[in-house]
């Protein structure tokens, strides 16, 4: 089984997992859940990391650094904003 086929297996199985993972979410949690999932999509940060481990500054590295900054904003800001929303649900069990 080649690497592409393995990737395809992962893609299909992850899609099934994602579809089954979420159901019956109370409306209160719609926004935090969207926000948390959004932070998770910042996983592209690891892709950006692999592109910028060099000293020389070329166009591709500039693009990579820009990608790294944006992805890190998405990750750090995304998890923080989700936590801030959830923390205000104080007094809840």
């Amino acid at each position: 089984m080649g690497p592409l086929l393995i990737s395809l297996y992962l893609f299909v199985l992850a899609a099934f997992l994602g579809f089954e993972l979420i159901h019956k979410v109370p409306p209160t949690l719609h926004t935090p859940l969207m926000s948390g999932a959004n932070a998770m999509s910042g996983i592209t940060v690891v892709g950006a990391l692999t592109l910028v481990g060099v000293a020389a500054l070329s166009t591709s590295v500039v693009l990579g650094v820009l990608a790294l900054i944006l992805a890190t904003i998405n990750v750090v800001g995304g998890f923080l904003v989700t936590d801030r929303m959830l923390s205000t649900f104080g007094g809840r069990k």
Partner: protein
């Protein structure tokens, strides 16, 4: 990937899955979010381990600058603008995926000349998914920026685009063709990079055509859909880089985001297709003038409130916009002191995003047991002495129930109009987000309290306290 980092990647995915599951339950939500954040940290660490010793200057700069901007953006945000912040972050995620793909393309095609096409350097599958990553990522970025501007009200209105479906289809097709020709058919770096820019431009045009005609009230659904797309963009980037972690995490976001979008549509009793067509845009026929509308003043309203045994407050976006959550809670406490039962009725899509009112009221430390969801409280309105609608409009519009041709027909509403008296705090009679008239305002038992929500609520509280 060696065995050690592969195991770490598996642990990272487990943290994501377990965290996302917990995030969808009220009791465990906060730890779920923390688990996901831990999974992300682990993913970054294991990637750095796997890269071995490299030059860290750009890595450090990227991570530090990104973390600082992310932190400051959240720290400075008002509680009322959370939805806008989520939209913006989502756009950044999509942009990042597209940029990673473009950077990869640039490195192998433009900066490594004489090496054939991108496809011959990267392989067919990587090259093809690279194009998809740029397309989806660019659509996510442009769509999210537009969604944020619509939430802020910087852009309003729902312009109709003639032959929108076919136009979007053609632009998408043309963009994809340009992208595939760029990676498969062209060896000349200059020409193929121009084609990639055409792909980006086409994606942005497509995104504008998709989001512009959709009304602001539907932006939460659009943002949720774009969130799902930013996951798919990350997954496509994962295919291009042959990175399992990206594929799995991105696909999980893509799939669960789609389910969440569906759940949000169901909460509004709409279908996703209906939202995307721009269901709220057909408001022209409903722009009718108001007939007799009774205006009240805080003094007379306070006298009615003094006699009330049961009061329900219906908050909407106007409360969040006027930052009136503390004033609303103060009024509720004043009413409780005189012995009235006071509750807040929360419509699932009140405000600019589902759960928006919960966030805003929780900030004012309104106890959770004073908040009632629509399904729990709707039958109680008929038994209630006074309802105070604070800056809400569409979510209490009886047209959704009584007028089959209304653009919001079928949307579940709070039956505020069934109470004995209804006071509506609103700046003017201007229509709400759906852009339509609200027959509730004309009802005999309803009266308008014109003004800023915070001012009016404080005035009411003062009147109550003075007379007590």
């Amino acid at each position: 990937m060696n065995d050690f980092t592969a195991l770490l990647a598996l642990a990272s995915i487990a943290l994501f899955v377990f965290g996302l599951k917990r995030l969808s339950r009220v009791r465990t939500a906060r730890t779920g979010n923390a688990l996901m954040a831990a999974g992300m940290l682990l993913a970054i660490v294991l990637t750095l381990i796997e890269m071995g010793l490299v030059d860290y200057r750009w890595i450090a700069i990227g991570l530090l600058v990104g973390a600082a901007i992310g932190y400051l953006t959240v720290a400075r945000a008002q509680a009322t603008e959370m939805p806008e912040i989520v939209a913006r972050f989502n756009g950044f995620g999509g942009a990042s995926s597209a940029l990673v793909a473009i950077s990869l393309f640039w490195a192998v095609v433009v900066e490594t000349p004489g090496d054939g096409t991108a496809a011959s350097a990267l392989g067919t599958a990587s090259a093809a998914t690279l194009v998809l990553s740029v397309l989806i990522g660019s659509v996510t970025l442009a769509g999210s920026i537009l969604a944020e501007l619509k939430l802020r009200g910087t852009i309003d209105g729902t312009p109709s685009i003639p032959a929108r479906g076919p136009v979007m289809g053609l632009v998408a097709l043309a963009s994809l063709v340009a992208g595939f020709v760029a990676v498969f058919g062209v060896e000349d770096p200059a020409l193929s990079s121009v084609l990639v820019l055409v792909l980006v431009a086409g994606s942005i045009v497509m995104s504008l055509a998709l989001v512009l005609p959709i009304g602001g009230a539907d932006m939460p659904v659009v943002i949720s859909l774009l969130n799902s797309m930013s996951g798919l963009a990350a997954a496509a980037t994962g295919f291009a880089l042959n990175n399992a972690l990206l594929i799995i995490a991105g696909t999980i976001v893509g799939a669960s985001g789609l389910i969440l979008t569906q759940i949000m549509c169901v909460a509004m009793n709409r279908s996703l297709v209906n939202v995307l067509i721009g269901g709220f845009s057909g408001g022209d026929a409903e722009h009718g003038e108001y007939g007799t509308v009774i205006a009240a003043d805080p003094e007379s309203t306070a006298m009615v409130l003094e006699a009330a045994q049961s009061v329900i407050i219906v908050p909407g976006y106007g409360l969040a916009a006027a930052r009136a959550q503390n004033a609303a809670y103060a009024l509720a406490q004043a009413l409780q002191r005189q012995g009235a039962q006071v509750r807040f009725a929360i419509h699932p899509v009140a405000g600019r995003m589902p759960g928006h009112m919960n966030v805003v009221l929780a900030e004012a430390e309104v106890p959770y047991d004073m908040l009632e969801e629509m399904s729990e409280i709707n039958a109680d309105f008929a038994e209630t002495d006074v309802v105070i609608v604070v800056g809400a409009n569409d979510v209490v519009n009886p047209a959704a129930r009584n007028e089959p041709n209304s653009p919001i027909a079928g949307m579940p509403i709070l039956d505020a109009g069934n109470a004995r008296r209804v006071f509506i705090i609103k700046r003017s009679l201007s229509p709400g987000y759906a852009g339509i008239k609200n027959p509730l305002f004309e009802q005999d038992n309803a009266a308008m309290l014109y003004g800023d929500a915070k001012d009016v609520l404080e005035h009411l509280t003062n009147e109550l306290s003075a007379n007590a």
